[in-house]
Amino acid sequence: MKKTVPLAIVFVTGVAMIVQFFIPPWPFNVLAETVQSWVRIIAAGAMALGIASLLAVNLNKVYRQREGWPFSIVTVASLIGMALVGFVWGSAETRLIPVDSPAAYTRFIEAKNISVDDAEALDAAIVEEVADIRAEVETRVDVPVTEGALLREIDSRFQRRWGSSPAQLRSAPLVRDFVEAQPQNLDTVDAIPRAILAVRASVYEELFEAGEFEGLTVEEQQALVEGTFQERFLAAWGVSPAEMLGASQREVRSPFFWGYEYLYYPLAATMFSLLAFFVASAAFRAFRARTPEATLLLVAAFFVMLGRVPLGDYIGEWVPNLAGWIMSVPNTAGMRAIMIGIALGAVSYSLRIILGYERPYLAGGGD
């Protein structure tokens, strides 16, 4: 049971994957794809196993207070922290969160003591505030700031001070009217998106009762509902649903992405860049031309390293050419000889696994 079943599995799947390469018709072409997608799910399971054993090892080290146990706490804490943030805030880079633009609007007009619904004064105040933010950022910095970064900074500066972006402030009165016009009271901030969709749902019911949907495919029904909803909304509020939605939502970068950008990435990149120092010290203390082969290796490396940087150009135009030649002829020849060897090795190793001569999957995993 513990040995024969795995042997059978390996044999059957191995032969099936070889045969599907040669026989196109059903079920073989479908077989290849479904089996490969299963492997992806199992690979995910294996990854989960890896993480589970990582957690187990570290928790055990903490439990037994073995030497260096506080560092295991760091590992477990950062693993759980990163995973929690990812599961709660989702793995996509950005998320939309609701913005209470009417409240921001009232705060803004009081601070600038503009009368309600006086659009020109509101616009003038906003333009003036944007201008001095732009001036303030440009003076403090000598490098030309990209327009995109500047626009984002103005939005975030407004967001911090007034609670919504300049564009949202301008359309705030419209949002306020829309909120007041809705039958159900919209006290909570994220009610606006739901209210807009409620309008769409009412259009759907109306068309359904009017019997507009007979003989239409699902796609056509959707298109009809969408079309009438867009017209109705534009007529009623002078803006499309998307703009109204835009006026009441703000895009924010998820903390999961923050963890990736400021924790994971710096740690990973720095760990690998340590190797640059070790290569340098090995270059001085260990790389010796003891044998003709090692000498040839160092000479080839010498030309490739020089040829691949602008310094090589600087020395002579032939240096990059020689580096290019080493890369395209001797390197290709050598790599090709190794690749053919590896290919034959892969064929024989795969063959031995499929026929059960070699059983690496039996190693470990209990008796």
């Binding site: 018709p25 073989f28 998106p193 939605l245 790389f287 010796r288 034959l344 090795g345 001569y357």
Partner: protein, 449 residues
Amino acid sequence: MRRLSAAFLAISFLLIPGTAAFSQNGEQAPAEDEAQMDGGISVAVSEQEQDILDDETTGPATADIEILEPIEEEPEPPVRAPPAPTNVDAFDTPNSAGDSVTLTWQPVPDEVDLGVVGYAIMRSKEPDGPFEQVGIATIGASRHRDTDARDIKAGETYYFQVVTLTADEQRAASEIVSAVPEAQWFHSGRWFILILVILISGAILFNINRARRGVDLYIRRIAGLESVEEAIGRSTEMGKPVLYVPGIRDMDDIQTIASMSILSHVARLTAEYDTPILVPNIRAVVMSTAQEVVKAAYLDVGRPDAYNPENIRYLTDDQFGYVAGVDGIMIRDKPAANFFLGAFFAESLILAETGASTGAIQIAGTAMPSQLPFFVAACDYTLIGEELFAASAYLAREPMLLGSLKGQDWGKFVFMIAVLVGAIGATVVTVGGLDPDVWWNIASWFRVE
């Protein structure tokens, strides 16, 4: 340990149905909730797409094809309608599962200034039945493969039309062609690779059986193996231990398995010379295997008392932690002979450098191409790629490895001959004046689709 992992498993069991339920709401709830669950992104996005969708859907799908036909007969319509694609042909896609038809056509001449945007591929079950768009080919294309496991069944006839699309919504449909897709039971383009797979597998299995039947297969002397004996001899003179690092992969990697058989040879020598052998490990399974191998070697030589399990220890699972540990052993115990045999990654450099700085003789061997340059530059002798496996076959005479190597050698021999014949053929064709297409159709047998 057991209590912890069991607890963890329980949590993961709760987690799976929990998230399934969590995702279930997403699936089951009407469109609004889904939008909400995804943080409204899909709503904002679909609005944007909605307007794009609107101008897209007014395209061919809903237009009624029959009305267009008469326009072409009129003399010269005010706006010059684009010409339809010519000599359209549809045929069963070769080597397919019977669910695919390939269409070829002559693209419209001077497409760009006619404003041609692409070609729509239309399909239907009846000759004049409603045509449905099944694909778009970009301008300049003259071939399209229409594959659809659901709608296309082998053996039934299907009718096709290729329609020129222009930027200003002009359309011109080609004449109607038909095809009957069938399933081919063997992929005609892959004969050669099948023969090759059979030949090579046959050579390997034949040699494995020969080796199993006790036939003594010749494997050439591996130069690196003398230096092993010499290094251990030097180590004994200086009264220093020998260090053996079996790589950082687990027992499921073939390089680690090969390393074990070389370890048993090295252990046999250290037993004879009565020199301690240190084997630091990164994986628990490799450690237990190494202990068994070394103990068996010491028993063979009749020195069971000299075997010391303490020297074959487990350090840590972490790559850089393991390297720091081995460096510590090199600096503290100052072994005079270091062996790095197995699978290595970026840490090979640090090991070889520290070893070189202690003045030890170093012999390395791995099949990882990216690490071989560092071993060759920093070590006294290096087993390159397959030499690692050849060395373990040479020492252990293990039939499976011996047979495989022999089979692979036969394969290499055949490939060498093929390259020679091919090169000579190519030379004769380019310079010698042999009629080129005689040569190319010979070479075409060896193609792989």
